[in-house]
Symmetry: C2
Amino acid sequence: MAELKLKLQLMHGGEIAMGPGKAELLDAIEATGSISAAARSMGMSYRRAWMLADTMNRCFAQALIETHPGGGKQSGARLTEAGKRAREAYAALVEMAQAGADGVALSALTRMLRD
Amino acid sequence: MAELKLKLQLMHGGEIAMGPGKAELLDAIEATGSISAAARSMGMSYRRAWMLADTMNRCFAQALIETHPGGGKQSGARLTEAGKRAREAYAALVEMAQAGADGVALSALTRMLRD
């Protein structure tokens, strides 16, 4: 019945360089091949998705997302090698934090909850 | 320049039994001795603070906060023994999660940020 929700945000100069929403957007861009389709799949406006992508690209030394404006097959967006590495490192970070949290303190707190 | 923000929420039957705001409220009640003063010190409405306190008291088997309505010295609120234990367990949980996160994945991600 009890569940622990963990949210990790990597801040960089007052901006969120990476967090749950941005990580999900990276996944959706990889899955759909465009920012607009990724936004739609997340129920998010194109403008909001574009701003999240722009923030990531500005916070990281190398862009995480590559866009190909214009029509035809080149249209769309995809993750760069840096984007794939950042996505993996963030997933590992969340997993490590969850593993760290999963100990005696969590058991103690969970045991105190109402049945 | 980079900083990791970690937010842990212990969910119980669709409600947040404990999280950063509720932990801060417990601290403020302990420091001020009343829900209204705690709310003021956090820039929060009395109604909101009362609802957070009520949620905690309902989610845990034993109430975390004890109120003494009425005037005089008995007026106010304080943490029960269960409240103090829950506060400590949550702090330990956050510390453990942070320690877990503080590893190679965080270094890898941080190194990728713009200088």
